[in-house]
């Protein structure tokens, strides 16, 4: 039991994980920063070009389309994962029987492989043969709403965002549910005694008490959404045109299809900086809220 008191042993066991993180995440980020100063097509020698890639990036119309698309993607994914996750967690606390079954069913999508989810939604969105969504559209709108959801330029971006949002609702539901059931009963009882109804208890006591958990979840969700890639890539690869292009799919295309590894690296650096800014903004918001209190 002396081990648990000594910081030396904590560090010893944390060290391998930290080394792995530095090697697999931190070092590639530094390498991307270095490669972004070069022009390289994967075959010829690296050619140093300074900040030229960033100058091109600034003027690249498609890149900025991808950034805006990413923000829309982010709004849908965060909206689904955090807010629906929280809603489901709150509802779960209110039911007695079947709670575990519902938790499991909601959680299952987060353990299914990306390929399977992409194929599932490709089939759902399909117009030929008609998928689930279009079959419903025929029944509910006499065919008015039948469309090729992955080819229509107005629907393709939400269409590729929704599978990612749906996929991890269960994960955030579990996080929020654990936070809600860990709340001290004394505080909730005190609120009840003061005359608060269920809605007031939820809005003024329970949710404020789990703000740190919501903050962490938002950070995880936002940074994940900024790096979202696999499902949009598999479903449409950014198409048609650039209507579902995200910064990550554009970065991948530029590096591995266009063979502009330097330029692709500059987009990667942008994504890292974007993630830092988002985390900083959330922490700023949290600190401001705390100061007001």
């Amino acid at each position: 039991m002396g081990i648990l008191k000594s910081k030396k042993y904590y560090l010893t066991f944390l060290l391998p994980g930290l080394c792995f993180y530095l090697f697999s995440v931190f070092y590639p980020i530094l390498e991307s920063l270095r490669l972004s100063m070069y022009q390289w097509n994967g075959i010829k020698d690296w050619k140093f070009i300074g900040i030229q890639n960033y100058e091109v990036l600034y003027r690249d119309r498609v890149f900025w389309i991808a950034v805006i698309n990413n923000l829309k993607y982010l709004a849908i994914v965060v909206g689904m994962q955090v807010f629906i996750g929280l809603l489901v967690a709150i509802m779960l606390t209110g039911i007695g029987k079947s709670r575990n079954l519902i938790k499991t069913l909601y959680y299952i999508p987060s353990i299914i492989t990306t390929i399977a989810i992409s194929q599932l939604f490709r089939s759902i969105y399909s117009i030929e043969p008609m998928g689930l969504l279009n079959i419903l559209a025929v029944k509910l709108s006499q065919g008015q709403l039948v469309k090729p959801w992955l080819s229509d330029i107005h629907t393709v971006l939400p269409a590729v965002s929704i599978p990612e949002g749906w996929r991890f609702i269960g994960l955030y539901m579990v996080i929020f549910y654990s936070a809600l059931i860990a709340l001290s009963n004394d505080v909730i009882e005190a609120g009840r005694i003061d005359g608060a109804n269920q809605l007031q208890l939820l809005l003024y006591i329970k949710i404020p008490m789990i703000i740190p958990v919501i903050r962490m979840s938002l950070i995880m969700c936002l940074t994940g959404a900024l790096r979202g890639f696999d499902i949009p890539f598999l479903l449409t690869n950014g198409g048609p045109g650039y209507f579902s292009e995200l910064t990550t799919t554009y970065m991948y295309k530029k590096a591995f299809s266009s063979l502009q590894f330097g330029y692709g690296s500059s987009i990667a650096v942008f994504i890292v900086l974007e993630s830092f800014i988002v985390v900083w903004l959330i922490n700023l918001l949290y600190r401001n809220n705390q100061v007001e209190e």
Binding site: Q39, E128, K147, P240
Partner: protein
């Protein structure tokens, strides 16, 4: 702390570190063994039948497709009859885009496989410039195998300067398959000119029929429509000039091609941008679309309908003042097989010689067009459809439409792939597409 606890901690830490480094060490070992193989290959000038030799082919051919099966069959025979120490390992990625990304990543990491599949495109030219690929034309001539191939099959694999670094393993022609029942219902016949073709499409659409089903996911079927009018006007001369930055897409030839794509795009099936290969084919086979542009490799799917008189085909229609003849259209010998100069030793060369000499007949037996000159085997019955297509190919002209994706540099190709879909959907003006492509190509030519 007790000795037992200290030992347990050390053991746990060692296990964790082992897991961390095991991936790296296996990579180091394989790189070292590859280096050893390469250096020993350079010193050997004769076939070495004593050491185990595994050759890896990074392939982009359908698994259990005709090429895959034929090569495996021949490799097995070679191991049994010629060199028991030889074995061929085939690693396949059938999705061409994913294959190319994997190939380029491997090459960028200095891990080019022994044998690869690659088109004679600008990326292949880069590999040639770096001395990474074997001169296949020289190799075939040195081995006396050059004249065993059909001229168009070889010509397709050449760069514009006449050099050749890729070996053809297939031989194809592309046509528009059409549904005869739908056509006769609306008194239509196979169009001979582009004007007739567009008129046919309009009639079909006006009558609620999907005129053409297209696989937009794979991009190349859409790019073919873009290339059609420029090929009729100039052969491949125009696209070669565009590639070299000597011609603009805003010239008449280019704008004719782009406008044609914009016009014909309205006759593609709804949602074609996300329609995959199999769905497009099934739309046609199920009688939901009237026309389907695809190559002879689908003759197996078409055979029953062809023999019952439901399906036929026509080649690229003509235009006024066409420079290319009616018997000149898209013929190709597909993606070629290329060899790593570092590992193309006597053992590999021996196998490839054997492959070329023994490939044509078993490949043809699988109802495919052989790129080698062969006598059709008498022990199997070739269908009327096969024999007719074979005759068409034997009587084609010297010009053939070479796909634009083999001419353009990777970045220009990527931009064209993304934006031509919008042109076909009516979401991008032809002039804007031409401007964008001119700028992109000019930037890439300058690099």
């Amino acid at each position: 702390m007790s000795r037992k606890v200290r030992v347990s901690i050390a053991l746990l830490a060692a296990i964790m570190l082992l897991g961390l480094f095991s991936g790296c060490s296996s990579a180091v070992v394989s790189m070292a063994s590859t280096a050893t193989e390469s250096s020993s290959a350079e010193t050997n000038s004769t076939v070495d039948n004593t050491t185990k030799k595994e050759v890896t082919w990074l392939a982009s051919r359908p698994v259990d497709g005709a090429i895959d099966l034929t090569v495996r069959e021949i490799a097995k025979k070679y191991t049994e009859e010629v060199d028991p120490n030889f074995s061929l390992k085939i690693e396949t990625t059938t999705d061409r885009t994913s294959y190319l990304q994997k190939l380029r990543t491997l090459i960028a990491g200095g891990n080019m496989p022994d044998i690869i599949d690659i088109d004679a495109d600008p990326y292949c030219q880069e590999l040639v410039n770096q001395g990474l690929l074997v001169d296949v034309k020289k190799y075939l001539k040195d081995e006396g195998l050059y004249d065993q191939f059909k001229p168009v099959a070889l010509a397709y694999q050449e760069f514009t300067d006449g050099t050749m670094y890729t070996l053809p393993l297939e031989y194809h022609v592309e046509m528009t398959w059409y549904n005869k029942e739908i056509f006769s219902k609306y008194n239509l016949t196979a169009p001979k000119t582009m004007n007739e073709f567009m008129s046919t499409c309009k009639t079909l659409k006006d009558n609620g029929i999907i005129p053409i089903s297209v696989d937009g996911v794979d991009k190349w079927p859409v790019m073919r429509y873009l290339a059609m009018l420029p090929f009729r006007a100039t052969g491949n001369e125009y696209i070669i000039n565009v590639r070299d930055g000597k011609a603009s897409l805003k010239e008449q030839t280019g704008m004719d091609g782009i406008n044609f794509l914009a016009d014909v795009g309205q006759y593609f099936n709804e949602g074609f941008a996300s329609t995959d290969y199999v769905t497009a084919l099934n739309l046609f086979l199920d009688g939901k679309s009237a026309m389907y542009y695809m190559g002879d490799w689908e003759q197996g799917s078409m055979l029953d309908h062809y023999q019952s008189g439901k399906v036929d085909y026509f080649y690229l229609p003509m235009t006024n003042n066409a420079k290319t003849a009616a018997n000149e259209f898209c013929m190709n010998s597909g993606i070629g097989m290329a060899f790593n100069t570092k590992t193309f030793d006597a053992n590999t060369r021996g196998f490839i010689n054997y492959l070329i000499k023994n490939y044509g007949v078993p490949y043809a037996k699988r109802n495919q067009m052989s790129p080698m000159k062969i006598e059709l085997p008498k022990d199997i019955q070739f269908s009327d459809l096969y024999l007719r297509i074979e005759n068409d190919m034997a009587n084609s002209g010297t010009n053939f439409l070479k796909p634009w994706d083999t001419y353009l540099d990777p970045d220009s190709l990527s931009v064209m792939n993304d934006n031509m879909i919008l042109v076909a959907m009516g979401q991008m003006k032809p002039e804007d597409f031409a401007d964008l492509m001119d700028t992109t190509i000019a930037n890439n030519v300058a690099k």
